[in-house]
């Protein structure tokens, strides 16, 4: 043991200093990794869902750095308050979420544990998209016997592209408030987004003409805004109550309903288990259509434009 030590100390100096330099490099790299890597961005954004991450990125350009808390293949109602979410919320100065209680199962814990004053409810850094738009399916009867209902209405507002215009406007106002230096940039990006988006909506509405009045079945009541926009007629839902798993008995009932009120297709979001809608599709002889539901929900839904391009394309394909 002793001899070994003395061997090291003989040729120690060059090696040690080299080792020291390497250790220092590793330590430096590690601390870079640890420290919030987006220190240069004017706004560090914590987006609850991919659609708001995409919108914030479009409106914020390179002045924002966006973290997306949930993936397109995750049920947005069922997210855990994971340690990573808490640490990401700690460094954010703007939080962009759906609201309407969609994130009620995890966001309150994340916000509390993050101990970040900038993004607590009520502060300028806390932005909810749903309250900006007209909400549908506001329950007249608030009772858990009705399943997972949201007191202020159905939270899946991102399935109607028209909703993005007032949300983008409100979000821009918020970003200007938080980062006044970037005002011109935010306003310019909003103006060009609004222009392109309106043109895109006109294009989608034209493409979606054949969908008007088409009866559909949905797996989860996730598409009231899409239905309202395109004039799809929802005849039944596979979930007996919102958020409850489709039971065999209820699926049989839906099948009976479909014999009297035939539907053209059965819709589900990409994050949902395909089996219930495939089961119905086979028996009712209608196509099961998986919609991306959010950015990243399909290969083609790479951004917000892709989201609706692909949604319309899939619906039209289901109609054939």
């Amino acid at each position: 043991m002793k001899t070994k030590q003395s061997v090291v100390s003989v040729e120690a100096n060059p090696r040690l200093s080299e080792g020291y330099a390497v250790a220092k490099k590793i330590l430096y790299a590690f601390s870079l990794l640890l420290l919030t890597s987006n220190a240069h961005a004017a706004l560090n954004v914590f987006a609850c869902e991919p659609e708001w991450a995409a919108l914030t990125q479009l409106l914020g350009g390179d002045t924002v750095s966006v973290y997306t808390a949930t993936g397109p293949l995750q049920d947005p109602h069922r997210i855990e308050a994971r340690p990573s979410l808490i640490s990401k919320a700690r460094g954010a100065n703007l939080l962009v979420c759906t609201g309407a209680d969609l994130e009620v199962a995890w966001l309150p814990v994340v916000l509390r544990e993050s101990a970040n004053n900038a993004i607590q409810p009520g502060s300028a850094g806390y932005f909810e998209a749903a309250p900006v738009v007209h909400m549908l399916e506001v329950p007249a009867r608030l009772d858990r016997a009705e399943g997972d209902v949201h007191p202020t209405g159905n939270p899946h507002v991102q399935t109607d592209p028209r909703n993005f215009l007032p949300i983008a406007e409100a979000l821009t106002k918020r970003m200007v408030q938080l980062d006044p230096q970037g005002t011109a940039g935010y306003e310019q990006r909003l103006a060009s987004f609004a222009q392109q988006w309106r043109a895109a909506i006109a294009k989608w509405e034209q493409q979606a003409g054949p969908l008007r009045g088409v009866p559909v079945v949905v797996q989860h009541k996730g598409f009231p805004y899409l239905n309202a926009w395109l004039g799809l007629k929802e005849v039944a839902a596979l979930e007996p109550k919102p958020g409850m798993e489709p039971s065999a008995a209820h699926l049989m009932q839906v099948l009976n309903t479909l014999q009297q009120h035939p539907a053209k297709m059965v819709l589900r979001a990409a994050y949902q288990d395909g089996r219930p809608s495939e089961w119905i599709a086979q028996r009712a002889h209608i196509p099961a259509v998986e919609l991306p539901f959010t950015v990243g929900g399909s290969d083609a839904a790479k951004d917000l434009y892709g989201l609706f391009d692909d949604t319309i394309a899939r619906l039209l394909k289901g109609l054939q």
Binding site: R82, P83, S87, Q120
Partner: protein, 404 residues
């Protein structure tokens, strides 16, 4: 008839309007400020082959798991929480015991505006040490706590005091916490004194690995004192029938490690997920023991290092259905017994209590759960026990978000 229908509709419209206004918090009345209120209803049926009062071998001076036989109304738990003002949030959880009476499980105030990653909590709270300690019974994955929690923490360490936590400003989750408190519950004893009677330090680190995996690991230290902690029916070397009553006083120091890892395909926990967790605690008690307080009454030095661990996994194999497996093990250690008691107190039990538990649960919704649990309990030497439990857990009212 038509008139009646009209009336009903009118009332329905009116009431739904009033209701929405209330729900949105727009109603100009006191009720709009009512706190979130929740109630947990639970109950178990237990089928045991052995008397549940028999302690684990070598742990007669520790608490027992406290199982009950037959039909039992579990503790109903009532929770109330709300922001108090812009600075504070209050949380209270009352346990309604089936035999009557209410006990305060948690009653604490939390700061909400300190910022900079700092959270301060004061009042009565579950200590932040380990992984399971902070979880309320309705969130447990099994009917009972692991043996190491049952024997070393009397199921859960509940502290009256102050907790401060700091979250580091890093991408990786790094949380440091410290607590001081009265140390009134096991492993401490309620003492009439100024200052702090117990202290805890803990650190947690966690992150995601891709979108599918997440983990958290932690280390905890806890220190308190026991004074005149009397245990009855403790077996002894002379083999006194029914055991003797011993009293211990001294320092109690515990260190622990915990980890949890979760996996879900695409990170979607609704369909299927897997959770693996384990914890290890090691405790050193050092002081003096009075042997047979009602008989010989001999006091001499006593120190022992007890430890225990568990590993468990829970797998949701299809929506609503989960199954779990847990292995528990304890080590009562070899005690250093003072010369005066060398012929009285058992120093070495030559036995490591263990248990293996399997559970299956079904949750028709996020608010209800039914569970079947089978256990082969080898925690008492030569008294193996096959245990069966059936449990229901239902939650009404506001349902707060669960922690990780």
């Amino acid at each position: 008839m038509f008139k009646k229908v009209c009336w009903n509709t009118a009332i329905a419209v009116l009431s739904s309007h009033a209701f929405n206004a209330g729900a949105a918090g727009m109603g100009n009345n006191e009720a709009a400020f009512n706190p979130a209120f929740s109630l947990i209803l639970s109950g178990t049926y237990g089928n045991l082959q052995r008397d549940p009062a028999i302690p684990a071998t070598g742990f007669a001076m520790n608490p027992s798991p406290g199982h009950e036989q037959g039909f039992n109304l579990g503790e109903s738990e009532m929770g109330i929480s709300a922001n108090i003002d812009p600075e504070y949030r209050g949380v209270a959880t009352m346990a309604l015991s089936p035999s009557g009476g209410i006990s305060v499980e948690n009653a604490f105030v939390q700061t909400t505006t300190l910022g900079n990653g700092v959270n301060l909590k004061f009042g009565r709270f579950f200590s932040g040490l380990g992984y399971l300690n902070e979880q309320h019974a309705h969130a447990w994955d099994f009917v009972d706590q692991p043996l190491v929690y049952a024997t070393l923490w009397n199921n859960q360490l509940n502290e009256d005091g102050l907790q401060i936590k700091w979250l580091a400003p890093t991408d990786v989750f790094v949380e440091l916490g410290g607590e001081i408190g009265k140390g009134r519950s096991f492993p401490g004893t309620d003492r009439a004194k100024n200052g702090s009677g117990a202290g805890a330090l803990f650190a947690h680190v966690g992150d995601d690995i891709g979108v599918e995996q997440s983990w958290r690991a932690g280390i905890s230290l806890h220190q308190t004192r026991e004074e005149n902690a009397v245990s009855t029916a403790v077996p002894d070397l002379p083999n006194t029938a029914g055991g003797v009553s011993n009293s211990f006083g001294g320092s109690v120091r515990t260190a622990g490690l915990d980890f949890v890892w979760k996996y879900a395909h695409n990170g979607n926990i609704r369909d299927r997920y897997l959770k693996v967790q384990g914890e290890y605690f090691r405790r050193k008690e050092d002081g003096s023991l009075t042997y047979s307080t009602t008989g010989a009454n001999i006091t001499d030095g006593y120190s022992v290092t007890q430890s225990g661990w568990y590993v468990q996994t829970v797998y949701q194999f299809m929506p609503l259905w989960r199954s779990g497996l847990r292995y528990d093990r304890l080590d009562p250690g070899v005690a250093h017994v003072g010369a005066l008691n060398a012929g009285n107190v058992i120093a070495n039990y030559h036995f490591n209590p263990s248990r293996i538990t399997w559970m299956l649960d079904y949750s028709p919704s996020e608010f209800s759960r039914l569970r079947l649990q089978l256990a082969r309990d080898n925690s008492r030497q030569d008294l193996a026990d096959n245990q069966l439990f059936v449990q229901y857990i239902m939650s009404l009212g506001a349902h707060g978000a669960h922690s990780y």
